[in-house]
Each structure stands twice: as structure tokens, then as C-alpha cells.
Symmetry: C2
Subunit: 334 residues, 2 copies
DNA sequence: TAAGCTTACGTAAACGTTTACGTAAGCGTG
DNA sequence: CACGCTTACGTAAACGTTTACGTAAGCTTA
């Protein structure tokens, strides 16, 4: 048997309004009746029905989060941050994994709209017009996480891919390298192009830019297999490379694996720096030097911003999170 | 402006009941009015309010999932499986990460109860009396995932830790090893003791059991750092070891790292087998031989079972999932 | 053609809350 | 002591659906 506020009211000989007031601690009752009501609640083990409450208050204390993949460490860290602040705000988070499919994404958005979520965090992917328009119609606050929108003005939190990549390349240069290659994860406008551009700019600023970009191999995604597959191609077109910047830790792990298989020693023969600082970077052999994105912190910031928008109504400012080079064992000073 | 069924009814010149019937495609209207109503819905962009619906139907199409940690690959894979079948069932999943804290867990359960979730998946941790009693009171179906309860009769899906560990040890034996060590992740009844016991039994069945268990080091958790820290201790108390079974891939990664640091070559000097087959196992250098838990598949099974309970009302049977040795490069045939 | 059945609806209550509004009692004040 | 104010409630509508029940029209059948 699950009890309702009416049961409580009846047993405490008060009206449901009074019980409700006590539950939401608003004024309007004596200490005595409060005690009585609380006692009845305790006895029955009554717990309010958030669905009914949501119906009248038009607030569900639930937010939605969209991930392209939910089983990666990347998403996991973001989610962990989001979840922790949501929980502190007495809210729950519904996770959706879109598998980078537009139709799936739209289906999730409809689902979330029907559920009347309070707000939405959109991660890692590019915010298409279709998504944005629909979210506008939903009328819920939106924040972008680990992505941004050049087209629409939507608050976001991320690190600057451009600057972080610039830093990575400069780091290699400072270590004395001049023949520096890169394996990128794609040409998208979020994590693809900016990382390539940042990398190129750093080389350019040090007069190291090759003419035909034979030092860059553009892969299709940011995964391990892609890194492993593409390393030999890069090596062929840029054979005197002494250092390599990979646009993700997974790419770096793949490249490293391919390298050792053909007898290249890391870091003696080739220095490698990754991007993300996922836990695997620490566990790599040798441990991977990489540029850190504070993913969990980013998740927290995004969620905190979302709740602030929810509570105060004003817009949140975009946040560029600091990145940082984590020095481990895969880069050698020449 | 967000529209309600009343708006639709008014514009279509029918009652809300008719609109509702059309929405839920129940009988009782002509094709003509159906077309009219659908057209109005389309024009307004009306979407039903799942909260209101949930209130009357007492079904929220939402399930809850409890994880000790949400940012690990382990949880990620489970979640991915769960989420995919939930989505196929038009349901959403609320994730909770308990941080292995009892009070947090109880708080989450209360939250989920107030939200009136339809069902619950509890993963990786031991199901305490307090949790179980409360979940019983909630009156929602429960399935255990990657854990089980000796105490209560609750459906679960997991691999047999005992048998999987037995297999791992036997595999090493078949490869000609006789001095086999183990680093365990703890003494809990779920993944701790059974893995140790399975391991010991395999050695015993081949008359290889050391007397004082000097070949086993019991760590505190299943993490990388623990593996790295404990490997030297194990080596000291069991110095002629030629093969090592680690109770998780993370432990194995840590042990491997510690080993190479002191000049031990994998697999030439020491063979290592892990447990889980997380993505990092493949990315390790050399790639880690390990026993696979089909985590995503397990998540799917658990969710599918939960929905079956929800729909048909009958109990689900426990499922022991098959495990499998994934041969890679860290075990040498002696 | 009268009786009964089917079809296509509409009416209104119900789900479990919150909250605007009303009100009676008690109190202080001039 | 009449008046107004405060306190401590209760009443009932509202939130947006679903659904049991009622009913009128049309059709079938004997």
C-alpha cells in the first residue's frame, strides 16, 4: 500500500492543504499540528508523489543529458560531474546516448520533452539546426558541454581546443622537436578543425610549417583503432618525424601500439603527446604525456550553470576551462 | 506556448476523450475525425505530457540504475546496454552513483521512489538488508547486475566469478605455468572471495596449491594504483612466480606497470592475465590477455528481464552469462 | 417496424499534489 | 467594546491526462 497526502490528512485530522504546507515548510500551522502530522507521516512511511507535484508545479527536478556514446571514459567523467551537482540539487539526470545519429537525437529530444525535463545538457557533438530549433520550442534552458555552437548563442563549457592544441605543439617544440606530426580525429568544427589549426599555428609561429601538410594525417574518428591504422600512413608521408601530437588519448594509444609493433621505441625514437588525460593515459606503458581536459570539473560547471539558469532565470556565460599539460613518460627532450 | 489535449480537442471540435483515444490508438472514432485531430496535433506541434499521463496510469516509463561509480568503463558498458533496451521500450533511465556510500544509496532510493520509477537495476555492489527492505516497500521490480544476493532471492545477471577465475587459472596452467600468483581486489562476497576461491580451486585440482597462500595478495580495491602498489609485495613473498592472475584489468595494468619498471619483461619473464576485458586491455602494451565479461550484453539482459517483469508480472530467472578468455599478448607458453 | 446491437462519440471523475481564497478565532488598540 | 490584524487552518479549483459510463444515431434482423 502506498499512501497519499489524503491518508495523512485524514489520520492527522487536518486538511491536505495543511499537510502540504508542512511538507513544503510554508507558514500557516501550529507547532502542535506540525508534530502530529509529522508523526503520522513517519508511521505510514508516507513519501510525496513527485509526479503529482511535478504536474502542478511544472517542475520535474529532472534534467536530460545527451551523449554520443555513454560507454566511453570521456562521457563517464562528464556524467560523473553532472550527476554529482544534480544530486546536490535534489534532481535526477536522465542519460541518452545518441550514437551520433540525428534521428536518435530527435527521438530523445521528443522523449525528454514529453517527460517535461527542467533543463538539458548537450555534449560533445555539433548542435544541428534541427536540434536547436526543437529545444527552443521545448523552452528549457540548454548548456553545451565539450562542444560549442558557432551558429547559435548558447552557453557552453569546454576547453579551447585551439589553444590546448597550440600548447601541445609548443610543448613539443620547447622540448627541441622540429619534425612534428599530427594525427587528427576528423574535420568537424568542434574537436576536429580547431585542434588542427591550433597545432598548425604553433608550428607556424616557430617557422616549422611544412608546405603540403604532409605532417598531418586526418583520421575519421578519435578511436584507438583509427590511431593504430593511421600511424603507418603518417609515417610513410612524413618519415623523419621525431614527435607526434594525437588529437585524443585513444588515437595516441593506437599510434603507440602501431609504433612499437614496427620496432619504434617510445620515447627514444619518437615522442608522443595525447589529448584528454583519460585514466588510460596514466595506465599506458610508458605512461602517456597528454593535455588534460578537466572533464569532471567541466561536467560540474555545466550542471551548476544549468541550475543557476533554472533558478534565477538569467543566462549563463560561456566558460573556457583551463587545460594543462600532464607530463609523463612519452616525450623526450632532444 | 505549450499546448494541452484541451487545445487540440477544442480546435478539432471533439472532446478530450476522443483525442486521448486517438493518441493511444484505442477504438472509438471515425477515420475522418482521426484525420482531423491528427492534423490539429501536427499544426500545433502538440506533444502529450508524460507527467500527467504518469499520474493516472501509475507508470512513468522510467527506470533507475544504481552504480557505485559512474565514470568507470565498467559502469559505462553496463549502462550502455541498459540504456539501449530501455530506449527501445520507450523508457528513460535515471542514473545514480552511490560512491559506495550507504547513506547516499538510501537517499537515491528515496528520490527514485518519489519519482515513482517503474523498476530498478542495482549494480556491482552488495545488496544490504536496508536497501532490500526499502525496495520491497517501494514495490518495484528489481534486478541485480554484476552482483548477486546470497541472502535474498532477487534475480541477477552476472558471470560466475568463481568459474571465470577458475578458467583463468586453468588457462595459465595449460600454458605450462606452475608458479602462479594472484592479486585480488578485496574480500567482499561478490567479486572478491569468489575469484580467489575459483583461482585456488584450479590450482588445487592440479596439485599446485601453496601452503600459506603466499601466492595471493589481497588488495583493497580493483584499481590501477592498487595493482601497481601491491605487485612488489606479492613478488617479494612469492619470488619465483612465472604467471600472474589479476582480479581486474585495472589491477593487471597496475601490476604490469610496476613490473616493467623493475625490468621484468611481459610476457617473457612473467605472464599476466586480467579480468573484465575493458577497452584498455586491448590498448595495453603489450595487449592484455584477459577473461571477458560481456558487460554490454549483461546490461541488455538485465534491462530486458526488468521490462519483462514489468510487462508480464512474472519473476525473471537468474542468468549466468558466459565468460571467455581473450587471448592477446601477455601470456607465454612455457 | 420494433428490438437489439454497434459505432462514435461526450461527460465527468479520478490520479495526488499545490495554492488562491475564504473564514473563524483570538488578540491588541483606541 | 468595536474594529482591524494576525494566525491557523479548511475548501475547492487547478495541473493534463485517462477511462468508466452514458447516449444518440444508424444498422441489422426477425
Amino acid at each position: 500500500m502506498v499512501y497519499t497526502i489524503k491518508d495523512v490528512a485524514k489520520l492527522a485530522h487536518v486538511s491536505t492543504a495543511t499537510v502540504s504546507r508542512i511538507l513544503n515548510n510554508q507558514p500557516g500551522y501550529s507547532e502542535k499540528t506540525k508534530a502530529k502530522v509529522l508523526q503520522v507521516i513517519e508511521e505510514l512511511g508516507y513519501e510525496p508523489n513527485a509526479i503529482a507535484r511535478g504536474l502542478v508545479k511544472k517542475r520535474t527536478h529532472t534534467i536530460g543529458v545527451l551523449f554520443p556514446s555513454v560507454s566511453s571514459l570521456f562521457s563517464g567523467k562528464l556524467l560523473s560531474g553532472i550527476e554529482s551537482v544534480a544530486h546536490a540539487k535534489e534532481s535526477s539526470v536522465i542519460v541518452c546516448h545518441t550514437q551520433e545519429s540525428g534521428s536518435k537525437t530527435m527521438k530523445y529530444l521528443h522523449l525528454l520533452n514529453e517527460k517535461r525535463i527542467d533543463g538539458l545538457i548537450f555534449t560533445s557533438e555539433v548542435l544541428k539546426d534541427e536540434y536547436y530549433d526543437y529545444i527552443q520550442k521545448m523552452g528549457v534552458p540548454l548548456v553545451l558541454l565539450a562542444t560549442e555552437s558557432p551558429e547559435f548563442q548558447v552557453p557552453y563549457v569546454k576547453v579551447s581546443d585551439y589553444q590546448a592544441s597550440y600548447s601541445a605543439a609548443r610543448y613539443l617544440i620547447e622540448k627541441g622537436h622540429t619534425k612534428i606530426g599530427m594525427i587528427s580525429g576528423g574535420d568537424d568544427m568542434i574537436a576536429g578543425t580547431p585542434r588542427i589549426e591550433g597545432f598548425k599555428q604553433a608550428l607556424k609561429d616557430h617557422a616549422l610549417l611544412p608546405i603540403n601538410e604532409e605532417n598531418i594525417f586526418r583520421g575519421k574518428d578519435f578511436g584507438y583503432k583509427e590511431g593504430k591504422k593511421n600511424f603507418p600512413f603518417l609515417l610513410k608521408q612524413f618519415s623523419n618525424m621525431t614527435a607526434l601530437f594525437c588529437a585524443s588519448d585513444h588515437l595516441a594509444m593506437g599510434a603507440m601500439s602501431a609504433a612499437v609493433e614496427i620496432g619504434i621505441k617510445i620515447p627514444e625514437d619518437l615522442s608522443i603527446i595525447g589529448y584528454d588525460n583519460l585514466p588510460i593515459a596514466e595506465m599506458a606503458n610508458p605512461p602517456l604525456t597528454t593535455v588534460e581536459q578537466p572533464l569532471e570539473e567541466m561536467g560540474k560547471k555545466a550542471a551548476a550553470g544549468l541550475f543557476r539558469m533554472l533558478e534565477s532565470g538569467d543566462e549563463m556565460r560561456a566558460e573556457i576551462m583551463p587545460h594543462q599539460i600532464i607530463e609523463r613518460k612519452t616525450v623526450q627532450h632532444l
